[in-house]
C-alpha cells in the first residue's frame, strides 16, 4: 500500500498537481506522525498501513501549510468528513484540496466535493462499539454519578489544549478560551476552569463534531472527552435531522430551526 501511495504522490508532486502533501510517516517508538512532503524524493518517507488511522485535516488550515501552495492529503474517512464540514463553514473550497483515500484497496484521489460526498455516503459513520457502550453506561447512571465521573476526569486535565490542536473543527485563530474581556474560561487548570473549558468546547462542537476521536486520542491525561461531543451526535441527528461532515453545503443544526422543534421541557 505504501508503494502505491509513494508513487502516486511522487507523480503528483513532479507534475506540479500539488505543492505539498500531508501524509503518514514513521514516528518514534513505533508511533505514526504527520509528515509534510514537498519534493518527489521526500515522498519515500510516506507509509500507509493499518495503524495509519489518523486524520490530518487539522493541518489543512494552518497558514504554514496553506502558504506552500496546493495541498494534497492522505485522507481517512474522518479526514474527508472534516473536509466536508470545513467546506460547509467556508474554510476550504471545491477543488482546493486533493484528497487521496483508499476505497476497497484502491487508491483514489479527488478534490471534487461531489465525489467525496458520494464516497462518504457509501461508508459507515457510526461511532465505535466500545464508545457507544461507554455513552450508554454513562446515560444509565444517576445525575450525581455522572457528575462524579466527570469531575474526576476534569480534575486530571492540565489545560494543555492538545484536544483543541488535534481537532479539525477547532480552527479559530483566537479561541474563546483565550478571550479575557471578559475572562470566560479561567486560565489556570483547576477543576472549575477545566469543566468550563470542556463544556464550552463540547457546545462549540455540537452539530459540527465528525467523531474522528482525535481529541481523546491526543489527551495526555486520557480523558474520554470525545464522549461529550459524541453523545450529542445522536440527539442532533434525531431531533434536527442534521449530521456533520457529510455534505459540503450542509446547514449547521444550530444555524436553523423548525417551528415544530421539540419543546416539551419548556413551560
Amino acid at each position: 500500500m505504501s508503494d502505491i501511495l509513494i508513487n502516486k504522490v511522487k507523480q503528483l508532486l513532479s507534475d506540479k498537481a500539488i505543492d505539498i502533501f500531508i501524509g503518514h510517516g514513521e514516528g518514534t517508538g513505533g508511533r505514526i506522525r504527520p509528515i509534510f512532503v514537498r519534493t518527489p524524493e521526500d515522498a519515500e518517507q510516506l507509509i500507509f498501513n493499518e495503524n495509519c488511522k489518523q486524520s490530518w485535516a487539522n493541518y489543512l488550515l494552518k497558514p504554514e501549510v496553506k502558504a506552500a501552495g496546493k495541498i494534497g492529503m492522505m485522507a481517512t474517512k474522518h479526514a474527508l468528513r472534516a473536509m466536508m464540514q470545513l467546506a460547509s463553514e467556508f474554510q476550504i473550497k471545491d477543488n482546493e484540496v486533493l484528497a487521496l483515500y483508499w476505497d476497497n484497496n484502491e487508491l483514489k484521489s479527488s478534490a471534487d466535493f461531489k465525489e467525496i460526498e458520494a464516497y462518504l455516503a457509501s461508508q459507515n459513520h457510526d461511532i465505535l462499539p466500545h464508545e457507544q457502550e461507554m455513552i450508554d453506561k454513562l446515560n444509565a447512571m444517576t445525575t450525581q454519578e455522572r457528575w462524579d465521573f466527570w469531575q474526576k476526569e476534569y480534575e486530571k486535565c492540565i489545560k494543555c489544549y492538545a484536544c483543541r490542536s488535534a481537532c479539525p473543527m477547532c480552527y479559530c485563530h483566537h479561541c474563546a478560551a483565550e478571550g479575557n474581556q471578559p475572562q470566560w474560561i479561567p486560565v489556570a487548570s483547576h477543576q472549575l476552569g477545566n469543566m468550563d473549558w470542556h463544556l464550552m468546547r463540547a457546545m462549540h462542537l455540537s452539530g459540527r463534531c465528525i467523531n474522528c476521536g482525535a481529541c481523546a486520542k491526543v489527551c495526555p491525561m486520557h480523558i474520554p472527552l470525545n464522549l461529550l461531543t459524541y453523545n450529542l451526535i445522536t440527539p442532533i441527528q434525531q431531533e434536527f435531522g442534521a449530521i456533520a461532515g457529510m455534505k459540503h453545503d450542509a446547514t449547521y443544526a444550530l444555524s436553523t430551526f423548525k417551528t415544530e422543534d421539540k419543546e416539551n421541557f419548556i413551560l
Binding site: E89, F90, C175, A176, W184, H204, T251, L254, S255, T256
Partner: protein, 666 residues
C-alpha cells in the same frame, strides 16, 4: 476609573413603601466606583431630573444608574436627562426596583436587600457600558411600488400625493391587476372598471410617479433608506415615445387566435396586443412567443402598418438601476390552476369555469359583452352551479386556509346571473357562509331571498357529463347528508386564492419572509400588519393572504403612511443597539473566522461578507460584517459566535458577564 452616580427613586410611595430607599442609596454609595448616591421622591419629575443633571456636573459623573421603575417605562427619560447634562446617554442604565421588586415583594429587609442587589448589578453593568452614538441613516425619498393592482395603485398615489417620488413596477403590459378583470364588485355592485380606471389614469399622469410596465424586479441590495434596485424592463419591441396607441397594428396582426390572458382564455388576442381596451399605458407589446416574425422570421406586418414607425424588432431587455428609500410590495395573488380539480372536470369540460372567468362573462367589456353565455356553445345556461371552497379549507389539497373572498363573490355571481338570466336557477354548494364585513351578510341574504339562489350546504364530490348536461353530485348536510344531483348547464368553481407562482423567488430577492403557502409574512400579525421583517420594505394587498378590495386598499394606504413617515425626515435615527464584528490590526484583521454559521441565524439578513484585500487586490480573508442599517439588535448571532467575534452594543459580552458576576458574588 469610572465615576458612577446612583439615584434611587421613591416613586412617591410605590417603592419606598416596601423598600428602604435611603438605605439602598447609602449602601450603593459604598460600591466600588460609585462616587455619588442619593434618593429622591420622584426621580422622573422635573426637580428629580435636575438633581441628576446637577450631580453629573458637580461630581463629574460619567455613568448614571437610576434605580426606579422599569427601563421600558423611563429609560428614554433618564437617558435624555443625562444627555442634556453633557453625558453620553447610553452610559445611563436603570435598575428596576419597582415592577421587579417593591411591587412584587412585601415590606422587608429582604426586599430592600434585593433592591440593593439589583442596583449593584446594574452598577457593574454600567461600568462596562461604552458611549454609543445614535445611528443616522440618510434616506432616499423615492419609493418603489411593486405591482400595479388596486393595492399598488392606492399606495403609489398616496405616497405621490405626499410629495414623494414613486416608481411603480408592473409585470404585465398594463396596470390594473385582478380588479380590472372584475365585472361588478360586492356588496355595492358598482362597476369595477368604472372605479378603477380613473385611478389607473391618475397613476400614469401623476408628476411624481414613474411607471414601468412589462417590468420586473431583478435584484434588491442595500437597506432601509438606501436600497439599490435593479429593474428589468422587458422589451416591448416598441418605441413607446413614438407610439400613439392608435391600435392599427393590433387589428392587422395576422396571428389572431392566441388565448387572451386577460379574458382568462375565453377570448382571443393578437401577437401584438393591448391586454384590454382601458389598459394603462394604452400601448401594445409584442408577445414574442407567438409572433410570426420572432418564431418564423417573416411577417413584420405591424411594422409596415405603423403610421409612426414605432415597432422595434431588435429592442432588447433593459436593466435600469434605481435608488429608493422604501419598497411597497403589492404583487397580489393568483387563482388555483385547472389541474387541481380532476374530480370537478375543470380543464376537461369547457363549461366548468372558475370565478375569474365568470367575471369576464359578466363584464360588459368581456368576450360575451356581458351576457352569461357558456363557453362550449354560447348558449345561455338555465341552471348554474357555483361550488364554493374549491380547494380552500381542504387540508387534503394542501390549502388549509379560507380564501376569504369567495363566499362574497359567489353570492355576487349568483346575483349577477339572476339579474341577467331571469328564468335561470343558481345553486351554491358551500361549507359555511363567511360574510363578515360591512353590508356583507345583508348582501348574501339578498342573493338568497331576493334573487332566489339555492344554497346547499355540502361539498361536491364529482362533476361529470351526461347527455350534454353537467351532473353535479354532492351531499346536502342539512338534509341528513342526503345525496344531491343537479343537472347543470354550467359550473363555476370558487377556486382558492393562492400566492403567485414566483412569490418565493421574489421574497428571496427582497429578503422578506413568507409563510408555508408562500404568501409574504408581515412583521407582526396584529401590530405590524404592513411591515416586513426587513426594515423599509412594506406589504399591502393580497400578496399577504387573500383579501378583498377594501382591505387591500386600507392596507395600501397604511403602507403608504409608513413610507411617508419614513420620508418625513432626511435622516433616519436608530438606536445604536446593533451587533458588530470586531476588527483589529493585521495580521488577523478580526477574530472572525469567516465560518458564516451566523449568516443564517440573522432574522434580518444583516450579516454580509467583507473581503479583506491586500494592496494588490488579492483576497486575504473573508469576514462577516453587520449591516447597521439592517441589524435590529437581537443578538442571536452574538450568542452563536464561537470566537466571540461579534458583540452587541448595549448588551455586550462584558456587560452581561459583569451583571451575572455582580448579581451572585458579594
Amino acid at each position: 476609573m469610572a465615576r458612577v452616580g446612583v439615584f434611587v427613586c421613591h416613586c412617591g410611595e410605590n417603592i419606598s413603601a416596601t423598600v428602604d430607599c435611603e438605605k439602598v442609596a447609602k449602601e450603593s454609595g459604598d460600591l466600588n466606583s460609585v462616587v455619588f448616591s442619593t434618593d429622591y421622591k420622584y426621580m422622573c419629575s422635573d426637580p428629580g431630573q435636575t438633581l441628576i443633571k446637577e450631580a453629573i456636573k458637580e461630581h463629574k459623573l460619567d455613568r448614571v444608574v437610576v434605580a426606579a421603575c422599569s427601563p421600558r417605562m423611563h429609560e428614554p427619560t433618564f437617558r435624555k436627562a443625562c444627555s442634556e447634562a453633557g453625558m453620553n446617554p447610553y452610559l445611563c442604565e436603570m435598575a428596576n426596583i419597582r415592577e421587579h421588586c417593591s411591587w412584587v415583594h412585601p415590606k422587608s429587609e429582604e426586599t430592600t436587600a434585593k433592591a440593593g442587589d439589583l442596583v449593584r448589578t446594574i452598577v457593574e453593568k454600567v461600568k462596562k457600558n461604552k458611549p454609543l452614538q445614535a445611528i443616522k441613516v440618510p434616506i432616499t425619498k423615492t419609493a418603489i411600488v411593486i405591482g400595479g393592482g388596486v393595492a399598488g395603485i392606492q399606495s403609489a398615489l398616496d405616497i405621490a400625493n405626499c410629495g414623494h417620488k414613486v416608481i411603480m413596477v408592473e409585470k404585465q403590459p398594463s396596470i390594473g391587476g385582478h380588479m380590472s378583470q372584475l365585472s361588478e364588485t360586492f356588496p355595492t355592485l358598482d362597476c369595477s372598471q368604472c372605479i378603477l380606471t380613473p385611478r389607473m389614469v391618475e397613476v400614469a399622469q401623476h408628476p411624481n410617479i414613474t411607471l414601468y410596465t412589462y417590468a420586473e424586479i431583478e435584484s434588491v441590495d442595500g437597506f432601509i433608506g438606501n436600497f439599490k434596485v435593479k429593474i428589468r424592463r422587458k422589451s416591448k419591441s416598441l418605441d413607446e415615445n413614438l407610439c400613439t396607441g392608435c391600435g392599427l397594428c393590433t387589428t392587422k396582426c395576422p396571428k389572431k387566435k392566441i388565448p387572451n390572458e386577460f379574458e382568462r382564455g375565453l377570448g382571443n388576442r393578437t401577437a401584438i396586443y393591448v391586454p384590454f381596451p382601458q389598459a394603462v399605458p394604452n400601448k401594445p407589446v409584442i408577445d414574442r412567443e407567438n409572433c410570426n416574425y420572432y418564431q418564423k422570421g417573416t411577417c413584420k406586418v405591424c411594422e409596415k402598418v405603423c403610421p409612426v414607425q414605432a415597432i422595434r424588432f431588435d429592442q432588447e431587455d433593459q436593466i435600469i438601476e434605481v435608488e429608493a428609500g422604501a419598497l411597497v410590495v403589492c404583487t397580489g395573488f393568483d387563482v388555483l390552476k385547472p389541474n387541481f380539480f380532476p374530480e370537478y372536470g375543470y380543464g376537461k369540460y369547457k363549461d366548468v369555469i372558475d370565478g375569474l372567468q365568470f367575471e369576464r362573462l359578466a363584464s360588459a367589456s368581456g368576450p360575451t359583452k356581458g351576457e352569461i353565455r357558456r363557453p362550449s356553445d354560447g348558449e345561455i345556461p338555465k341552471k348554474i352551479v357555483f361550488i364554493a371552497c374549491a380547494g380552500s379549507r381542504d387540508p387534503a389539497k394542501g390549502i388549509e386556509y379560507c380564501s376569504k373572498i369567495c363566499c362574497m363573490y359567489t353570492a355576487k355571481h349568483a346575483m349577477l346571473y339572476k339579474h341577467k338570466v331571469h328564468d335561470g336557477t343558481p345553486y351554491v354548494f358551500y361549507m359555511d357562509i363567511r360574510a363578515g364585513g360591512k353590508m356583507y351578510e345583508e348582501f348574501v341574504r339578498r342573493a338568497i331571498v331576493e334573487d332566489d339562489t339555492k344554497y346547499i350546504r355540502g361539498r361536491v364530490s364529482t362533476v361529470f357529463e351526461r347527455n350534454g348536461k353537467l351532473i353535479v353530485r354532492g351531499a346536502d348536510t342539512l338534509m341528513g347528508a342526503q345525496p344531491v344531483e343537479i343537472e347543470a348547464d354550467m359550473v363555476v368553481l370558487a377556486s382558492a386564492g393562492v400566492s403567485n407562482p414566483d412569490s418565493e423567488e421574489l421574497a428571496q430577492r427582497l429578503h422578506v419572509s413568507y409563510d408555508a403557502y408562500k404568501f409574504f409574512a408581515e412583521a407582526h400579525p396584529k401590530l405590524k400588519p404592513v411591515e416586513t421583517n426587513t426594515a423599509g420594505i412594506f406589504l399591502a394587498g393580497a400578496c399577504q393572504a387573500p383579501k378583498d378590495i377594501p382591505e387591500s386598499v386600507a392596507a395600501a394606504s397604511g403602507a403608504a403612511v409608513k413610507v411617508a413617515a419614513l420620508f418625513s425626515n432626511s435622516e433616519l435615527t436608530r438606536e445604536p443597539v446593533v451587533a458588530e464584528v470586531n476588527r483589529q490590526a493585521p495580521p488577523v484583521f478580526s477574530t472572525c473566522t469567516g465560518c458564516f454559521l451566523c449568516e443564517k441565524v440573522c432574522p434580518y439578513q444583516a450579516i454580509e461578507r467583507e473581503e479583506i484585500k491586500d494592496r494588490n487586490g488579492n483576497v486575504i480573508k473573508t469576514l462577516a460584517r453587520i449591516n447597521k442599517g439592517l441589524c435590529q439588535g437581537c443578538g442571536t448571532c452574538v450568542a452563536l459566535c464561537r470566537v466571540k467575534a461579534i458583540d452587541l452594543h448595549g448588551f455586550s459580552n462584558q456587560q452581561m458577564y459583569s451583571e451575572v458576576m455582580a448579581l451572585l458574588n458579594f
